[in-house]
Subunit: 318 residues, 2 copies
Amino acid sequence: MAKNFVVGIDIGGQSSKLGVVDARGEVLAQNVIPASGSSDAKVIVKELAQAITALISQAGKTGEIRGIGVGAPNGNYYNGTIAFAPNLPWAAHGSVEFAKLLKEAVGIPVSLTNDANAAAMGEMTYGVAKGMKDFIMITLGTGVGSGIVINGQVLYGSDGFAGELGHTCAVRHNGRLCGCGKTGCLEAYCSAIGVARTAREWLEMSDEPSLLREVQNITSKDVYTAACAGDNLAVRVFEYTGKILGQSLADFVEFSAPEAIVLFGGLARAKEFLYEPTLKAMNENLLPMWRGKVRILFSQLKESDAAILGASALAWEL
Amino acid sequence: MAKNFVVGIDIGGQSSKLGVVDARGEVLAQNVIPASGSSDAKVIVKELAQAITALISQAGKTGEIRGIGVGAPNGNYYNGTIAFAPNLPWAAHGSVEFAKLLKEAVGIPVSLTNDANAAAMGEMTYGVAKGMKDFIMITLGTGVGSGIVINGQVLYGSDGFAGELGHTCAVRHNGRLCGCGKTGCLEAYCSAIGVARTAREWLEMSDEPSLLREVQNITSKDVYTAACAGDNLAVRVFEYTGKILGQSLADFVEFSAPEAIVLFGGLARAKEFLYEPTLKAMNENLLPMWRGKVRILFSQLKESDAAILGASALAWEL
């Protein structure tokens, strides 16, 4: 039987999403499994394998699956492991041979990469980067991830871990402490957590009136809501975030000369506030030959499908 | 007749070097042509073509040349042009189809790239990066250039200009003005000019005794000579230079996860003063998983041959 379908799985700390996908990027069936809380990788793989088999059967595609693509935090494309992933209790303190275990459990080839690389594959296969050979995907979520595509291939580097752009230095002088232990990382400023932190710092530093003064435990979503309501401080938080992001993007362009930067993730929904300051800062910090030439694009994939599509894109190579 | 030899040409502002090279990287014959000062690209190509034909004949390899590799400032691999190269009067104000013109004049296929990419090819083909698939070459000369190798291929990006690491931002806060018009570029600190400037700034800022106080128009070579003589200020200039360089190298590693960084160029001769501070700063600024794993190597190629070898390496692909 022809194998014209793939499965995409996005492994997350709270839940994992899986879907059966066709070559046009249609998700034929999908499911979400809440994290069971087990710290035993074998239990996790068994639960997932059952859900995969059931979903394939539900889609009526048993025997027609070419491969399974998995996107996971700290997933390594070269050796199929998930290692030291703080949000996954079963892979937080060591290395799990996830691709091998899952293949054995399901009997279908498995390819694995980190979530940001999977997102880049998804954009290249089904999204705004379709047809592009050189672009950089930046995922602006709780943290900042990246997937770098060079000459049509995801960049993995010598060890499978290339593309940690969230941990390049954005602010060298008195930079914020990042979750990774370093200071000044891009992630400490341009993630959802970074945006909320900027807002809280600015509210403390001045008496400027702001809708955000009435909010407890400010999140980036609160900042976005306030900006939409015309709150000046909230709008400036996004301008600042865009400036820091754009400065860093300029350095990334000087590294790999991409056609475009693709922004993805929760924070990218604040496009109307982020786009202009990000583009301006990027152009101001680029060598003249690149100014005005590198596009900043926002992912158009349906949020609910994007993670599954990204992971599934990996499976077509199998 | 088998074509088992190549020609390598390094185009420079003061002179151009050319050599006939065999597959083991032996330079069989070489020549240096001083810049004629002409601003007519056709005159330059004609002069060079005559010198090439004469050198091939001198080496006894007429009819045995597979191709010609050219390394030139602002050389573009994709379209074979040299464009807006400030140090070349005949290519300073526009774009010259150099590869095409030279091929027509000599009757041998020509491939062209920028000088730092050529240096990276040289290291990969004949030097310390032999056998490596992922490394970054940093040329520390008058300026700072770079050649990035990913999966065994030089990175050219979407437009042929990838790898301008000398113009990534090393110092965001009150950074020095760089020759490119931006501020804080790596080149403004870690080039020969940057080192001399650091020394001059520090001498002005304090009354600290230093051998350099007796030198007029301090160059990086003067700083090196003073450091060798035990001059404390001069040694600290290299420590500072290494710290800035190492910080930037960490960001580059987080981009492409190379096995090694290869340092090349005049300033790299100050290895004994640069190596430790550069390695220390790189490791301190890397994510934990890379600390202690990425090597910093110094080019071992004979200085007189390196430029020719680098360019010639390109010709084997023809």
